[in-house]
Each structure stands twice: as C-alpha cells, then as structure tokens.
C-alpha cells in the first residue's frame, strides 16, 4: 500500500454551528467561520485585522466533546466539530460578564461621547441588561487629555487591549501598553507618561478607531458624537497581507 502523501494544500473543514452545517478554511477560527456564514457570536475584544486574544470571554461557545467552554476567536475549526453558541447557560454568563464590566469602572452612557455608538452598550442592550446586580466600584482615574487630538478616559475602558494590539501590530509604534495587574491594570502610553510626552506615538489615531467604548476619543466630540470606522483597521491589514482591497 502506498504511503500517505504529505498534503501540500489546506483542506476545507466542515463543522456544525447551532445545528447548521457550514464550511470553513482550515486555519480559520470558529468565530471567523461563523461570521463568514452570517452566524452571530458576540465579541468585545475581537478586532478584525489584529490577533485574537480571547480576553473578554463573550465569544465562549460549547463544543461537544470538550469539558470546557472555548473562546471561538482563538479556537481553530476542526472537521466534524459541533458547536453551540447560544445556550441559556452561555447567555447567562454573557450577561454576568457585562454586568461585571459596568460595575467595574464608570460607564455612564448619558454623558459619554460614544453614547449610541458603543459596542459595550449595544451588547448590554442585546442581552437585556436593564440593571446591574453587582455593587458599583466607582474607581477614580485621571483622564489624559494632554494629546492635541485624542483623549484617554480610563473610566470607560474595559481593558480589551484592542488599542494596544492596533498600536503594536498595525501601526507598529508600540506606544500603548497595559501596566499593573488585576483590576489595577490600566492602559498607559510609553513609560506611563502623559500622551503628549510620548516619543513613540505617531498620532495615527488607530487606537481611537479600535476602541469599542468611549475610552479613546477625538477631542472636541460631544456626547454621542464619537463616530469611528472600526473596519478601517481590518481594511489596512487585509490590504497589507492579502493584497485585497475591501470596498
């Protein structure tokens, strides 16, 4: 019998998501495969064009055969995988995560530049979050308005690190970072200096485009005025890597 030839092409995979059979490219994540087939899985820390980190836990899915819940954004598709994305248990966990976020810092939509355009707010509404069960912590942070064009308000930050990833992997400047640990973590510029003093920042604004909430914003925006184009970063990366220009 002839030995198995080494396969030099990437075979497509077939898997089941919520009862629906779909096909996916071999190296796609479950999230990418779902989105390609118009199946919705909620996310917060995912940003098209930058690497997935699986931090927010919103995209957790149940995979038959796995005792643990897996983050769809970091889990590669496998042939014959059976995935459930919307069980009652998952919806309960998502709701709890959102409530923990709202209780963690000071997310006050009524006075926020991203009111109406915020991914956190949208997710909360979609999950029926009309109240928060956990005591609000009301931490006090300094708002960094030193930069001429942009502002960083940690009260609205959910530490998704999309801005950090965009800065490092799309712009390549490496200005933004996470300092501290646990709930004392915070986004800093350079060596924890005011943004205006940063020597690496190129003022490209990619971090502002990346931010899902109102933590990073254009100065001069009033409440609800923060318009951003979150797909711009994915556009840049797709053009760079695949030489495809999404119109």
């Amino acid at each position: 019998m002839a030995p198995l030839q080494s396969i030099s092409f990437m075979a497509a995979k077939t898997l089941t998501i919520d009862g629906e059979l779909i096909s996916a490219e071999e190296d796609q994540s479950v999230l990418e495969a779902a989105r390609d087939n118009d199946l919705h899985i909620p996310t917060l820390c995912h940003l098209g064009g930058v690497m997935a980190v699986g931090a927010c836990r919103m995209c957790l899915v149940e995979v038959e055969g796995s005792p643990r819940l897996l983050s769809a954004c970091t889990t590669r598709v496998a042939e014959g995988m059976v995935v459930h994305t919307n069980s009652e248990r998952l919806r309960k966990y998502r709701r709890m995560i959102l409530e923990l976020l709202f209780a963690e810092r000071n997310h006050v939509c009524a006075v926020c530049v991203s009111n109406g355009q915020c991914e956190l707010q949208t997710l909360a509404m979609n999950h029926g979050m009309d109240h928060v069960r956990y005591p609000y912590r009301h931490p006090a942070f300094d708002v960094d308005l030193s930069h001429p064009r942009y502002g960083l308000d940690p009260h609205r930050c959910i530490l998704c690190t999309r801005c950090v990833r965009a800065c490092w992997h799309v712009e390549g400047a490496g200005t933004l970072n996470v300092a501290g640990r646990g709930d004392a973590s915070r986004i800093i510029t350079d060596l924890n200096q005011p943004w205006a003093d940063s020597e690496t920042c190129t003022s490209c604004g990619k971090c502002v485009q990346a931010c899902p909430t109102g933590a990073l914003f254009f100065q001069g925006s009033a409440v609800g005025e923060m318009q951003r184009d979150r797909s711009r970063l994915e556009y840049i990366v797709t053009a760079r890597e695949r030489k495809q220009w999404i119109v």
């Binding site: 980190v53 699986g54 931090a55 927010c56 836990r57 957790l60 643990r68 819940l69 897996l70 983050s71 970091t74 889990t75 590669r76 309960k92 966990y93 709890m96 995560i97 923990l100 976020l101 209780a103 963690e104 069960r133 956990y134 005591p135 912590r137 959910i158 530490l159 690190t161 970072n177 996470v178 501290g180 640990r181 646990g182 709930d183 004392a184 973590s185």
Partner: protein, 544 residues
C-alpha cells in the same frame, strides 16, 4: 565526563569520608535562624578540638523538621544517628565535645517518630544528605548515572516509554501523565524545541520546590537533560521566582559545575547530544506559574496567559514545541531511569504512582517537609506524622492545593492522599502545600484569604477573573461583617460558578475552589453569618 569518570569521582568522595559527619541544614528555614553561624561555629570547634581527621562538618539541604531548626544531624559509623534540634552557635563546643566523651544539653530529636520513619525518600533522597554546592557530592550519591544510562543505553523512545510505564504524573498540581506529555512533545515535528522547569512555586505556604532546589539542584538539572534527550530539545530554562534567592544561587553554582564537567553544553557526556540550561527569574507574579504566562514572561512579554488549546507541546516558547514540567516532576526522573519503571510503579496506588512531597504548615505541631507514598491517609500525615494540632486543639480541616484547592474536613481525614480521591472531595492535590486548621479557624475567613490572594494575583486579562474575584472578595467581606443577606449568598454561588467556567486560565478557573469547598463542608458557618432578619426560622442564630 564518562561512566568511568563518574564512578571514580564517586569512589574518591566515599573514600575521603571520615568516620563522623555533622550534617548542618542550610536550607532557607534553618538559614534564617542562624544555621550558617551554627555550621561555622562547628567548623571552628572541630578544628580547635583537633578532630579534623575524624569529623567532617557538611552543609546540607533540608533536614525536614523545619520547626525545630537549626538542625544538625550527627552520623557516626557504627552508631545510631542523632538529630540535634534548635542548635545555637554557642552549642558548638559542647556538641563537638561529645566525641571526646563529654555531654551536651542540646535537645535531641526523636528519629524514631513517625514524622521521620514513615517518610519514603525518593525525590528527597539526597536532601539533608549531600552538600548541594558540590557536584562531587551529588555524583557520590549516584548522581548523573541515570543520564549516562539514558544517553548510552537507551533511545529517546525508550526513555519516554520508561517514564510512561512508571505512571509518573505531573507534580505541579494538575497530575497530567508525564510520559504522555513527553511523548506529545517528542512527536511534534520541529527543528527547535524547548524544555522548561516551572520553579515559580507560588502557593502560599508551599516550600517543596524551594527545598528541592536548595538541597539537590543537580537532580533537577539531570531530570531536565534526560527529558530534553527524550523529546529532542537543545535548550532549557528554569523559571525560578525571584523570592527564592538561595535556590537561584545554588542552581547557578550547579549549572556552572555541570557545564565544566561536560554534562551541559555541546556534547553532553561526550555524546552527540547538546543541551544547555539558563535561569530565568520571575518578578513577583503568581500568574507566571501558569505555563502560558510563564512562557510569555520568558519571552520578555507581559506575564499573561493565552487560551489553551493550542498547548505548549504544539505552540510553546517563541512559538516552538515546549515541554514544561514542575521541579518535583523532573526530580523524579533520575531515580526512575536508574531503578526502573516497575520500581516506581510499585510505590503508591493504582492511578497515583510514586511519592509526593508535602509542606506541612499551619496549626500543626511538626511543621516541615515530608515525602510519603501516594495513597497515605491524610490522618497519618497530619496526626501520626504531624503530631496533630498544638495545645491540645482539634484539627478542623486541612487545606490542600493552595488558592486553587479546597478543604478536607476532619470527618474525611481517612481519605488516601492521591489525585482522584482529593478531586472527588472538591479539592486538588496541588503542588503539595498542606495547611492545617483547628477548631478556632473561621472557614469563611479562610475562603476570603485565598480569594484576596487570587484577586491580587489576577493578571487582569479576562473579565471573569479580574472583576469576578473583586466582587467575590467583597461579598465574602460583607458576610464576615454580618451585612449579607441570603440573596448575597446565592449571588456568591452564582459568581463562583461563572468565574470557574468562563475564566481564561487556571488561576481564575480555580479561584472559586476554596469558597466552593468551604461552602460544601462548612455551609453552616456561612449561614451563621447572615443577618438575623434574613435567615429563615429554620436556621439557627449566630453563635460566633
């Protein structure tokens, strides 16, 4: 260094041995209570008494009974060994005087006590016996013979097969079959692979790995070289927490000595196999004991975990397949190669083979380091060997597994200590820390202590752990301040469930364990703390 060299070194070491050896414990515990000064005083006293040709004073590693340190073990050929406890530098003269017919008031320990007699030293066989700063001492105790056998008599597959057949399971806490892990890394095709030793022992109250590294560093290095040979790696790292400066110092010395002797570097033992080891020091983060966070830290990145799969065997350090094992796991490798898989599989139980090192601490008479076969009942460990709780108090519970583990209540003390039986009770074996509690211990307070630890050590990447541990800590505080309602208790349980199942890494996934475990066995203590008007009439009033 070839077999002939090893045997010759061993021979000359043993021949040079004098009739009397005074072994002075120089591990961290005894060192911190003047252990070094005791040794120096003994050196001086022996010289002054003109006994240099008859008595040698050796600085050794852990002599086990830490609570009675500084410890000195006196071994004279043809006589029963004597353990001297709480030795002070001033005692040196009278102690040495006993070899000339004099007496000393220094207290003697009971070496026949079960604390010593029930120990089975596999991992710790050289601890307290050899001088950790001398490779010749290690070689005189059959050191590096296992490496020689592996390199010259066995193929990498045979080495892995031996480890698999031995039944060795990871001693870092999870108990993953070591042979299977080695086989997975070996079978992953890659031009470059790494071996990492996880020496970031972070559980509060655990000092097993520290003792092994301070007392017998060459053993761990030998285990790593054998592992590297088996899986095909050429570079290894030992990630030690910065809070273990003595362990780092002893490891540095050992690595240097091994390199000089041709046991590390290119052409290990003059074979075609190359392997080098470097130390990487931690920076004070418990989360860096988690394997993916550890690797991120070694890479110079922020010590944050990433979701698994992919596992390190597939995607590890710098993107290459990596074998990562705990200190104690590596320390088991040389004896398994030397004495065979069947010998090791003959110790312990059906699913948990070999021995386990435990660090006994808390409300216990005999605080110290012990090594017992798997399957030893917990009661034997804490009552028979540990001597029970001091001042006539009763043991209420034993915490195993640190902040990731749970409590075993007194009613279950006959449980054999092995992976499956502890997991069945809602705890884990963990790395070996065993904290004993007495009847005055408030179990809710214990749960809060561990939750505070997890909250402080959470890396902050994922929300369930970062925000969940904060809320859980506050809820436990509310309970202890008697401001909590029954609804708060329900919320506590729901949050525990959510944090456990949605956290990204083991820290968050196991952070609720102490709460869940104490709720399971000591629920009444939680109920007693609820505000009076929130309790139903069926629940008793708080009795404190």
């Amino acid at each position: 260094m070839l077999l002939a060299d090893l045997l010759q070194l061993k021979d000359s070491e043993l021949t040079a041995r004098r009739p009397v050896t005074l072994r002075c414990c120089l591990a961290a515990g005894c060192l911190s209570s003047a252990g070094k000064e005791v040794k120096e005083a003994l050196d001086k006293a022996v010289a002054e008494a003109g006994l240099d040709d008859r008595v040698q004073v050796l600085g050794v590693g852990c002599l086990r009974l830490c609570c009675e340190g500084p410890l000195v073990l006196c071994e004279e050929q043809g006589k029963e060994p004597i353990l001297y406890e709480r030795v002070q530098p001033e005692d040196a003269t009278s102690l040495v005087g006993t070899f000339k017919g004099g007496t000393t008031h220094v207290r003697r320990g009971d070496l026949q006590h079960p604390f010593f007699t029930r120990q089975v030293s596999v991992v710790l066989e050289n601890c307290g016996v050899i001088d950790p700063d001398r490779i010749e001492c290690y070689i005189s105790a059959d050191g590096y013979l296992a490496l020689r056998d592996a390199l010259r008599e066995m193929s990498p597959q045979e080495v892995i097969h031996t480890i698999t057949r031995s039944g060795l399971r990871g001693r870092g806490g999870a108990g993953y079959p070591t042979g299977l892990k080695w086989a997975t890394v070996a079978k992953t095709r890659s031009a470059r692979k790494y071996v990492i030793c996880n020496a970031d022992e972070g559980d509060p109250g655990a000092f097993m790995d520290r003792s092994i590294l301070e007392s017998d560093p060459h053993r761990v290095i030998e285990g790593m070289i054998i592992a590297a040979y088996a899986v095909g790696a050429e570079q290894g790292y030992i990630y030690v927490r910065a809070e273990y400066p003595l362990a780092i110092q002893r490891l540095n010395t050992a690595i240097r000595q091994a390199k000089t002797a041709g046991l590390l570097g290119s052409g290990v033992m003059e074979s075609p196999f190359n392997f080098d080891v470097a130390i990487r020091i931690g920076a004070g983060a418990f989360v860096c004991g988690e394997e993916t966070a550890l690797m991120a830290s070694v890479e110079g990145q922020r010590g944050q975990p990433h979701p698994r799969p992919p596992y390190p065997a597939e995607l590890g350090l710098f993107g290459h397949p990596t074998l990562i094992n705990n200190v104690e796991t590596f320390a088991n490798v040389p004896p398994i190669i030397r004495k065979g898989a069947d010998w090791f599989a003959g110790i312990g139980t059906e699913k948990s083979k070999g021995t386990k090192v435990f660090a006994l601490a808390g409300k216990i008479n005999r605080t110290g380091l012990i090594e017992v076969p798997m399957g030893t009942p917990l009661r034997v460990i804490v009552e028979t060997m540990g001597g029970g709780a001091p001042d006539g108090n009763q043991i209420k519970a034993v915490q195993t597994g640190g902040p990731s583990g749970g409590c075993i209540p007194a009613s279950h003390l006959d449980t054999p200590v092995e992976y499956e039986s502890l997991a069945a009770l809602g705890s884990i074996m963990g790395s070996g820390g065993m904290i004993v509690m007495d009847q005055d211990t408030n179990m809710v307070d214990v749960a809060r202590f561990f939750m505070e630890f997890c909250r402080d050590e959470s890396c902050g990447k994922c929300i369930p752990c970062r925000a969940g541990t904060v809320q859980l800590y506050d809820l436990l505080g509310k309970l202890l301040e008697r401001r909590a309602s029954a609804a708060d208790l329900t919320q506590l349980e729901e949050l525990c469930d959510m944090v456990k199942h949605t956290s990204l890494c083991g820290l968050g996934q196991t952070a609720p364990n102490p709460v869940l475990s104490t709720l399971n066995f000591f629920r009444q203590e939680y109920l007693n703390l609820l505000q009076a008007e929130n309790r139903t009439s069926a629940e008793p009033a708080a009795t404190g």
